[in-house]
Symmetry: C2
Subunit: 432 residues, 2 copies
């Protein structure tokens, strides 16, 4: 919504006069033309493209693995970073199946979101439409290119991909399969375009492509996301931080609180929906906190605790203020003792990242106070913050999680890759 | 969605370190605190504030008129510009009644937009929530401050107003009445704040207030709107241009086409939903265009026509390409003859501003092709483009029209001043 939305032509002129256009501008112009075709293409053509792309991926499996071997040979990445970059026949099959699953989702385009009739007989309906051209900036995971392209095709959008330098060969091989899918469905292959190389100038060009790129989705580490959020002149869907809180209220069931905190922190520590900070009511902490700490310690969790928590469990290491601002993405839990729901909300307002917060309580009034008192995208009552996920929400597939205040918040699936228009149907009405 | 959404605290620090904070930063911080109270305030309190503000406006009528007299004495504006600045007892009464009408609207906050249950029993609902702090930058019309403040109070938002230098005294007198309304309802008066003066630096500060101001709404001339759209680091709801088209298709009913074109152009020529360009099919133009031209000429309209139109009505002045890019906001109509719906869509894609377009036709397939083929916020079939208006849509009151691709598009009423959160209600579920 930030960029202004002149006709493509005039905005292209502006973008070009502002600074010499690079290759991404030319690609974005091609993508915009393709987007017009995608936007009015039948559901069946887009689904056919996804099936065909899945087949093309399987067929090109050897070529993709060779390209990936080149990337791996050139990479100095180790451990988890190397693993992210690595493709295997199984992973290629999983990507292909993912595309087929997208084809099975209902078409998000054309849904009538609202409909009403005015006293003068005008029928007004709000109808879901594709966004246009979506720019996806990602780092080393080669599958992101296929997933993002699939979600964009499904939702009638064109996509402009810019992968990281580490996965360049893999990304290009996958891109070729996506374009083969489009061709097989008689859709323009320019609906999925990729940067010619990993030059950083391409990112800058995409960030400034107001009027050419309608939406940017950065997928990668915090520094990439923050740079995009800071410098983009185009709307961005993303989250930089997932500093999620679980608040155990005085009226919580002890067993439920222990299960939820253990799961929210330890099920997978590296995802953005993992709880980083436990807030626990002073009234319940003396009896409950020692068990929670013991549960988590058993699975290797370490702790950063405030003074009140350390009075209850003296062996806990002390937390600094900075710890409460830190998204550990690891087996580390911040702990603060609070005096009721308002103090919990104050803590979240001060340290939170508007991602996901949970309360455990048997008291419905307190739960409602908590859920209406944050500005987070997702609030949960008696459930684990790890449920913040497109699949768990029933969206089928997700391109990421957004924490901004507009458009999509929380998991971003195919429905969230649409916007809408008003269609007004009359019988010759004029305004008096 | 463009700004990143850290906790208020950390973002405040960032905003402050980026450049020395001015008075708007301090006001925005106060507004954010007030916004937290507004967001959870009961419907009745917000409605009471609107009733009380209306009463305060009526009570302060003399004071407001005196303030307005000062503004008028200092102003060199003439004609329509002077009229915009002028308040009368009747206009103050209209502003007050407008606030009371807003109080009668249903509460847009807390609406359950969607609701579903997952197989694991998690209940997920999408609930409308206030946006937070809305910045409204306006020019000479003093009523905009009251209307914007009223819509923001109704939708649970805090608002930061920055009026133009011409209406400074009037704006401050109106602001005092709005705050009196908030106090009468025991709501924080910081929910409606106004810039201390009309220093242009305040605008720059608001445009950069990422994390402090959640949404900017510029209300005024094109140069103001374009500057805000270009420089804001905060999401913007606005439209710079309303270059609306009415396309008369070959299968149009002649009488209906004549009535709609006359109304779409001439009912009020100065509003953004007025048609600026008539596109007419070559097949129907020879018989229909002369009558349309005669209808409009009778009401003083002049024309800018392409070569094909001038072959049919040789007295029409020639249009330049620039004319087709011009929002006249006056009794001037561009005319182009096209060869079918696709050529009409190409013209709109090239010259349009994504605002409102209409087609007149008896052919449903062509109408659907047209309505799905633009990226405009509003598309109409057999109706006048002048219906693009919050009141006509049934929204009660509007703060403006948006042509961006995200969040609100078309008329922006109180529902469009909300965003949403997901509320997930469980019974102790953990993720496997």
């Amino acid at each position: 919504m930030q960029a202004h939305e002149d006709g493509a032509e005039s905005t292209v002129t502006q973008a070009m006069s502002a600074s010499a256009p690079g290759p991404m501008t030319a690609l974005a112009k091609r993508a915009r033309l393709a987007a017009r075709t995608l936007a009015t293409s039948p559901t069946s053509a887009r689904d056919r493209a996804l099936w065909a792309a899945a087949a093309a991926l399987r067929e090109a499996s050897d070529t993709i693995l060779e390209a990936n071997a080149k990337d791996l040979a050139a990479s100095t990445a180790k451990d988890a970073f190397r693993d992210r970059l690595t493709l295997t026949p199984e992973r290629i099959e999983a990507i292909a199946r993912g595309l087929e699953d997208m084809a099975d989702l209902p078409d998000p385009v054309g849904r009538v979101l609202e409909e009403w009739t005015r006293p003068n007989g005008l029928r007004i309906r709000r109808v879901a439409t594709p966004v246009g051209v979506i720019g996806v900036i990602y780092e080393s995971r080669p599958n992101v290119g296929a997933d993002a392209a699939g979600l964009c095709i499904k939702s009638g959008n064109a996509v402009l991909l810019r992968g990281g330098s580490e996965s360049l060969h893999s990304a290009r091989a996958i891109h070729a399969a996506m374009q083969a899918g489009l061709r097989a469905a008689d859709l323009p292959e320019d609906a999925v375009l990729i940067a010619p190389d990993a030059d950083r100038k391409h990112v800058a060009e995409m960030l400034g492509a107001s009027g050419l790129v309608d939406l940017l989705i950065p997928r990668g580490g915090r520094s990439l996301v923050e740079r995009v959020q800071k410098d983009a002149r185009v709307p961005v869907l993303a989250h930089a931080d997932g500093l999620c809180h679980t608040y155990v209220h005085a009226a919580a069931d002890h067993g439920m609180a222990r299960r939820i905190v253990l799961n929210a922190k330890m099920r997978r520590t590296g995802i953005c929906g993992a709880t980083e900070t436990l807030l626990i009511d002073a009234a319940i902490a003396p009896t409950l906190l020692p068990s929670i700490v013991a549960d988590l310690a058993e699975f290797g969790c370490t702790f950063k605790a405030d003074a009140a928590a350390r009075e209850i469990v003296p062996t806990l290491p002390a937390a600094t203020e900075q710890d409460f601002r830190t998204e550990w993405l690891d087996a580390v839990l911040n702990i603060a003792v609070v005096d009721g729901v308002d103090e919990a909300l104050d803590h979240i307002s001060r340290f939170g990242s508007s991602h996901t917060e949970a309360i455990v309580t048997a008291d419905e009034a307190v739960a409602n106070r908590f859920m209406t008192g944050t500005d987070s995208a997702v609030v949960m009552w008696n459930a684990s913050t790890q449920f913040c996920d497109g699949g768990e929400f029933g969206f089928g597939a997700e391109i990421g999680i957004a924490t901004g205040r507009f458009h999509a918040r929380g998991p971003v699936g195919v429905e969230q890759l649409t916007t809408f228009r008003y269609e007004v149907v009359g019988t010759g009405q004029v305004r008096s």
